[in-house]
């Protein structure tokens, strides 16, 4: 076990009274006060998250786009300047090394954002796959901080953050203001003279932004965002509510819904694998083989009452074990238990009723549509 790692914002979190948890070797805030209150703040107003544990890897060079097309499951060369895409890094066997967001930042410049726990697996895979391409892979995780501002008031917060301005280059973009910025697009910005990448992305199911900035000025940006957010009721949010928010939104979490044993099609992510793109990519041949008829598939489960099905609880139909829960909680927004589970495909139809073994008690759950929660668009 190596020493714990700390976010560049750690001292701020301590001052805010955060409780910390180990996440992929990082000591990160799990909650500041009440994870339920933090969850509701994001749904109803706005919350801010330190997600500096995420890994940022730049890919540059004349062949950078072609290299990424070979290295990951999606067609990254097709991204427009400023556009982002959710994609997967696959093994030769077509299983998932990590899920990624990749941003195109220039003609020959992409940014790969990976999960903290997969930083080195992703780096190793990218470096290995870069052989023969004119492309340079650089790990920028240590010097990059990441702050997410999420919730219906997120736009208003960013627009009123003192010292945060769009960069001149933003004016050349088709959507040149934050209010026009579309989901999964970015704009370049400046905070106190330092470049900031503002992305309209998130992991909560709400409108919101993720901001990338040099670690040395991250604390100042956090304070400025908190100040701008105060009139909107912004609260700092920990990883506990981040997990319940993403679960309600039906978003997978690596290590739970996605693993080295899972193929994207099992997780409902078959479309993320761009089999229509030209040329070979790692995992292509394996992905072209249909799933075995009995391969477990990811389903959404909803229950009655208040008892949550949690990760690793077994799923039954009668006396037959048909699957396992990968994530679950009592949904703070909906008020009933929700879970994601891998089950035998015979039981994956919406409306199927299964039992979850909740510490010795069988509790019925019904297969439902994803997501559990969808925000109302105004």
């Amino acid at each position: 076990m190596t020493d714990a790692r700390y976010s560049p914002l750690h001292d701020l979190h301590v001052d805010l009274g955060a409780s910390f948890t180990d996440f992929a070797g990082w000591q990160m805030p799990v909650r500041y006060d009440s994870d339920l209150a933090e969850h509701h703040a994001v749904r109803e107003r706005v919350g801010m998250f330190d997600i500096s544990h995420m890994a940022e890897i730049s890919v540059t060079g004349a062949d950078a786009g072609g290299f990424l097309d070979f290295a990951v499951a999606g067609k990254m060369s097709a991204l427009a300047l400023g556009q982002a895409k959710y994609t997967l890094l696959l093994t030769d066997g077509g299983t998932v090394i990590d899920d990624l967001i990749i941003y195109r930042l220039g003609d020959e410049h992409w940014l790969v954002v990976a999960n903290a726990g997969n930083r080195f697996a992703v780096l190793d895979a990218l470096n290995e796959r870069a052989a023969g391409f004119s492309a340079t892979v650089v790990d920028q995780s240590d010097e990059t901080a990441m702050i997410a501002v999420q919730g219906p008031k997120a736009l208003a917060v960013l627009q009123s953050t003192i010292g945060l301005e769009l960069a001149e280059a933003a004016s050349a973009r088709p959507e040149s203001t934050l209010s026009d910025l579309k989901y999964y697009w970015t704009l370049p910005a400046v905070f106190l003279g330092n470049p900031v990448l503002i992305a309209r992305t998130g992991y909560t199911g709400e409108d919101g932004f993720e901001l990338y900035i040099d670690a040395s000025v991250a604390a100042q940006l956090w304070v400025a965002l908190a100040g701008a957010g105060a009139p909107h009721g912004i609260v700092p949010c920990g990883l506990a509510c981040r997990d319940t928010l993403r679960l309600e939104a039906g978003m997978p979490l690596y290590g739970h819904e996605l693993t080295l044993d899972i193929r994207p099609a099992q997780a409902g992510l078959g479309k993320v694998v761009a089999l229509s793109k030209e040329g070979d990519f790692v995992g292509r041949a394996a992905s072209e083989v249909e799933l075995p008829a009995d391969a477990p598939v990811l389903v959404a489960l909803v229950g009655e009452g208040k008892r949550a099905a949690r990760a690793d609880y077994e799923v039954f139909s009668g006396e037959s074990r048909i699957g396992v829960v990968t994530s679950g909680a009592l949904s703070p927004t909906l008020g009933f238990p929700i879970a994601l589970a891998y089950v035998h495909p015979a039981h994956s139809g919406v409306g199927s009723v299964v039992d979850v073994d909740v510490r010795g008690t069988r509790i019925p759950f019904t297969v439902s549509q994803l997501p559990f929660y969808r925000r109302k668009k105004d």
Binding site: S19, V30, R31, S34, D35, L36, A37, H39, A240, C241, D243, T244, K306, R307, A308, R310, A329, L330, P332, R359
Partner: protein
């Protein structure tokens, strides 16, 4: 939150308020804080015989499940219906309205004082 000195404590982070043969049982502020927001409690039925050290209930937060251990041999004489309806009482008033069960006890086992419990948790 400091641990009230008129209560007894267990190493499983329960407190007991002993009054004659009866003891009211809850979990400590330290335990509630570690759990996070409590969203569900499962308590034994009134009349149930309980045995010291065995699991007799569950306290669930959004993130985890805590077990309620019987602090002594005895019989459950009351459960806190208010905390079943409003589990957040465990967080807001762990030593008061967030009590869980009342038991009739025979002999009390060795329990911790507030000072000993505070030393145990290091807070």
């Amino acid at each position: 939150m400091s641990n009230p000195t008129d209560l007894h404590y267990t190493e499983e982070h329960e407190w007991l308020r002993v009054d004659g043969d009866n003891a009211v049982v809850g979990i400590t502020a330290y335990a509630a804080e570690k759990l996070g927001d409590v969203v569900y409690v499962d308590l034994p039925k009134v009349g149930a015989a309980i045995k010291a050290g065995t699991v007799v209930g569950e306290i669930e937060s959004t993130k985890s499940v805590g077990e309620l251990y019987a602090p002594a041999d005895g019989t459950v004489v009351a459960v806190n219906d208010a905390v079943v309806a409003s589990p957040e009482l465990v967080n807001s008033d762990p030593f008061g309205d967030g009590w869980l069960i009342k038991i009739e006890v025979g002999a009390l086992p060795q329990l911790l004082t507030a000072d000993q419990y505070t030393a145990l948790t290091g807070e």
